[in-house]
Amino acid sequence: MSGWLHPSLFFFSAAGLIPFLHQKARPILLLGMPALAFLSLLIFPEGIYGELSLMDMSLTFGRVDRLSLVFGYIFTLITVIGMIYSLHVKRTTEHVAALLYAGSAIGAVFAGDLITLFLFWEAMAFSSAVLIFLGGNTKAGFRYLLVHLFGGVCLLAGIVLYLADGNEPTFSAFNEIGVAQILILIGFLVNAAVPPIHAWLADAYPEATVTGIVFLSAFTTKTAVYVLIRGFAGFTPLAMLGAVMTLYGVLYAMLENDIRRLLAYHIISQVGFMVAGVGIGTPLAINGAVAHAFAHILYKALLMMGMSSVLFVTGKRKATELGGLYKTMPLVFLLYMVGGLSISGFPLFSGFISKSMTISAAAEAHQVAVYLMMTIASCGTFISTTLKLPYAVFGGSAACRNASLGGGTAPAGGLSPVTGASAAKGSITVGGTATSMPGGCTAAMGIAASLCLLLGIFPGLLYQVLPYPVEYNPFTAEHLVHALQMLGLTGLVFSLALKYLHPHPVINVDTDWFYRKGGALFMRFASGPIAAYEAFVSNSYRQIVIAPMKRFVARCRKFDIFVIDGMVNQVGDEAFRGSRGANRFEKYVVYGFINWIGYMNHIGASIFRRLQTGSVHHYAMILIVGIFLLVNVYLILRKVL
């Protein structure tokens, strides 16, 4: 990175160091690093820097041109202001997340190719989610993150398809619109909170920490505006889409009772002006979109800081529970009103010089519908942000009698479940502990307010950094009359219809209903049929393998018992029977024969015993008879043979 230092590095290094620093040393880094980043942007000239190669692709981390510089200026500037506002925060996680978030947003702005953009895009989603998680309502944070991952996935799919078409990864205006470009556009539009994929913003931002919302309202949507300008300038459907956004946001803001959610809806509305500007696509419109993004970041941060301060001090977030705070928080009230007049486009305030550019561009491009819708939205913005909300919160209305500063006497039951939960956690300091705003908060609001005024009075400061040369003069009689007329009429309507416009304690259904219910339905599906299926598969080895095996074994046993054992028994039986016969044969035949021989022997012996007379004569007699017999035998045998 010769000759250039990536501004994100300031943020990331600060984020890495903060946890290891002493409490008192942290502000130096928290403020110093963003300020240094701001200065570095002023110093380094335009050009292409920071080229790296990853996975066979060359990445460009620093494309510095007029467009990216404007966003770089305002992003670094707002980080400084936001950090001043959150100096009192003790939790380092919050600081680290905010720094990473800001750093990734700036990284996305300076990304010269789609892959680098995607890297920072994802980092932005995760780091910003932390700011919402820390607010205590983790479910909202989870929804926020999933929606952004969906957007990221669409973006990734688009990028992969885009590259597969043989395009270079360089991020520049898309010439033709195909599937890949549409997917990329969807990814961008999710972050730009374009209806109907906008609900994450109003759902999650109000749940962020007191200070986190200041960062949130600055980066995500404005990065989206930047990439839309870069890639889709002049893509006409965006003009109508933006105009619808402006009205949609205002409409929901009108109905909203949660003070920060009301402002969140106004982000949608204001981003609508920018998206419409991108869609119109003329140099004036693009200038208008950029200028409006610049101005909007400042005054929206100011407004958010104002309402966050109210939440910080009172612990309450519903307009119907608040009131009369002008007495106790006069400075916050005044500064908030500067923001309010800015967002309404009051002459000499910053909104005037930027918003009128977009509206003029619509008129010049003969987009009558867009022009009208934006004008109506401006009136609505004036009513709800600048008149209604401060009237309800700071004004002394009858509905707010029981609301008291400090909130210590407020019944705990009055807290919404979410705030109650946060209270238990101690993340948002609730009434009773905070009696006034920390000095840093007021200072930050003061800086933002003075910047709003500065830009409103000296629009040239902003105009000279816009991407296209500006020949636009906001302070013509026509513009002034138009603005004052419109605001005056709106104010009149407001004062007449005051009692109908007062906030009501209701919760409005928005498109997040679909993914909330859809998510619940999906989980029911997963833990119902899918789980049953899985249990079936998981145990099917018993039915398929074990049970047949057992049956087989049982059959084998039967075969064994009845056939083989039977045969063996048969043989045994036969053998046994046979042996009985043998026994008898032995007993009667063999033994009988032996006995008989013995008996005969006995008889013979007794006969011979008688023959032994002891007389020589007898012996000689027998001898002679014997010889005689032998001779006869001999003679007979000789004759025969």
């Binding site: 996975m55 995607f118 890297l119 994802e122 980092a123 995760f126 998680f133 820390l134 205590g136 983790t138 944070g141 989870f142 993150l145 999933l146 991952l149 969906f150 996935v153 669409c154 990734l156 799919a157 992969v160 398809l161 590259l163 597969a164 019944p411 705990a412 039951g413 807290l415 479940p417 109650g420 939960a421 209270a423 238990a424 956690k425 989980m523 997963a526 833990s527 899918i530 789980a531 899985e534 598969v537 998981s538 145990n539 099917s540 080895y541 393998v545 074990i546």
Partner: protein, 518 residues
């Protein structure tokens, strides 16, 4: 391809095999016994890595052992694919050896000598599979691995453990004995050889003749069934059942060694038995694509419903393993690269996650996700590593999972398989949906809040009153949970950092993957 004859592959198998002797001899001296494990692990890794120059030069190492009958040899061969697998597994064995010490002592497990010796045996078998030169050798080591891991899975000797072990053995041994053996015999009868040859052995066998596609498809399916260790649905349920094992086993074997052996074997079949061309001719790639896509989505959806941390991780593993096979069967260069690189990417991330689950079990005695509220503040290192591992699995850039996801996505487009792209990306969201709540609970929910909700629900009290209950509970916390011992924390941090490094510097694995698909 130049072949270098070297005894190193045999040596690698023998190092851990011979470590068993000192392990058993030092039964009564645990410190010496574990030292033997660690030394063997380091030695083994060094020998593996010493082969790197030869492999990266595009050469292979062979070491023939002996011939059964002519044509059937028992021999070892190291190529890029085997080397990649072996280097990952042997590196992670060192880490797991340290981790096992912390875990087994921390959890007061019995029969540690049996555990450590079986572990060494299992690693030997894994290396054997990685270095097999042919199907026969692979089969022998594959079966050996199934058998020596049985005592590890059933280590606790409880009824549950024995049930899990039974299922494990029935699935793995049953599949390999029935389908795999049949497939190998059929392969031999057709091709006349079982060697792993780049481009496959079937293509030369049918040179000039018509390919018997029916028979080959049957063989392929038999292989897929036979390698049940790859846990492709519906043959996956042994893996959740095997989670009864002590966590080091789940970490190294059921996230790296055993399951990767299954996947590795399937890759061998695809690349070196059938060959990419033959796969394309037979249309087997597309068939497997649908099977693996189904597995990826189904397992992820089911993981969503699991409250047991290890069960959720197991189903996540089932899903992630199919990424690897899916990449291979895309049959496009980037897809195959993605699949191969995912072997490493998944290994580093998933082993981290399992080690974290073990750390939570040993130190905090928690196994369920619903009990993890606020644990991140008490065990910051464990849960940080867990977050890194989970981000790796989701594929958040610049972690390891992103590299493989990128290549898989590009590969899907190269292969004109757009549905696969949708599967991959919806799986990303599903991964996020089942991993992020854990991180969110651990770091951003707190216990008091959970109790507060429970109390409010249980007593049907208004939440305001429930808050008091929460306060009293918060005032009297249970025994303080602190971070696990360094033996547990250091290894899991090392693998977490490893998964970051694989993501930042994937060149090593990409280079090897390129050689495989050449």
């Amino acid at each position: 391809m130049v072949e270098v004859v070297s005894i190193k592959p045999l040596l690698i198998i023998f190092i851990s095999l011979s470590a068993i002797l000192p392990i058993i001899l030092f039964d009564k001296h645990p410190n010496y016994r574990e030292t033997a494990s660690v030394i063997a692990g380091i030695l083994k890794f060094l020998v593996v890595i010493s082969m790197a120059p030869i492999i990266f030069a595009g050469q292979v190492i062979v070491f023939p052992l002996y011939t059964f009958i002519p044509g059937l040899q028992f021999s070892l061969r190291v190529d890029a694919l085997g080397f990649l697998f072996a280097s990952v597994a042997s590196l992670l064995w060192i880490v797991t050896s340290f981790y096992s010490i912390g875990y087994m002592r921390g959890a007061h497990e019995k029969n540690q000598t049996r555990f450590f010796s079986c572990f060494a045996l299992a690693i030997s078998a894994t290396m054997g599979v990685a270095f097999s030169a042919n199907l026969l050798t692979l089969y022998v080591f594959y079966e050996m691995l199934s058998l020596v891991t049985v005592p590890l899975v059933g280590h606790k000797e409880t009824a549950e453990a024995s049930f899990g072990t039974k299922k494990y053995l029935i699935y793995l041994a049953g599949a390999s004995k029935s389908a795999l053996l049949a497939a190998i015999v059929l392969t031999y009868s057709i091709a006349g050889t079982l060697d792993f040859i780049p481009g496959g052995i079937f293509a030369p066998a049918f040179e000039g003749e018509e390919v018997e596609s029916g028979l080959l498809t049957v063989i392929y399916v038999l292989f897929l069934i036979g390698f049940a260790k790859a846990a492709i649905m519906p043959l996956h349920s042994w893996l959740p059942a095997a989670m009864v094992a002590p966590t080091p086993v789940s970490a190294l074997l059921h996230a790296v060694a055993v399951v990767k052996v299954g996947v590795f074997s399937v890759l061998r079949i695809i690349f070196h038995i059938f060959g990419v061309d033959m796969m394309e001719t037979l249309g087997l790639g597309v068939m497997t694509l649908y099977l693996t896509s189904f597995t990826i989505i189904m397992a992820s959806v089911y993981a969503l419903t699991q409250d047991n941390l290890k069960a959720r991780l197991a189903y996540s593993t089932v899903s992630q393993l199919s990424y690897i096979v899916l990449g291979a069967v895309l049959l496009s260069p980037s897809g195959m690269m993605g699949g191969i690189v995912h072997i490493a990417a998944h290994a580093f991330s998933k082993i981290t996650l399992f080690m974290c689950a073990g750390s939570l079990y040993v130190t905090a005695h928690k196994t369920k996700i619903s009990e993890l509220s606020g644990i991140g503040r008490k065990m910051p290192w464990t849960m940080t590593a867990f977050a890194i591992g989970a981000f790796g699995m989701i594929g958040v850039p610049p972690l390891a999972g992103f590299v493989s996801k990128w290549y898989l996505a590009v590969g899907a487009i190269e292969a004109n398989q757009y549905p696969v792209l949708i599967v991959l990306l919806s799986s990303t969201i599903l991964n996020a949906a089942y991993f992020l709540p854990i991180i969110q609970k651990a770091f951003f929910n707190n216990e008091a809040e959970d109790k507060f909700k429970e109390a409010a629900q249980a007593a049907f009290l208004p939440q305001a009153l429930g808050a008091d209950a929460a306060h009293t509970d918060a005032l009297h916390p249970e025994k303080e949970i602190a971070e696990s011992s360094p033996f547990i924390v250091v290894p899991l941090m090392v693998t977490a950092i490893g998964s970051v490094l694989v993501g930042l510097f994937p060149q090593y694995f990409l280079e090897l993957a390129k050689q495989v698909i050449q």
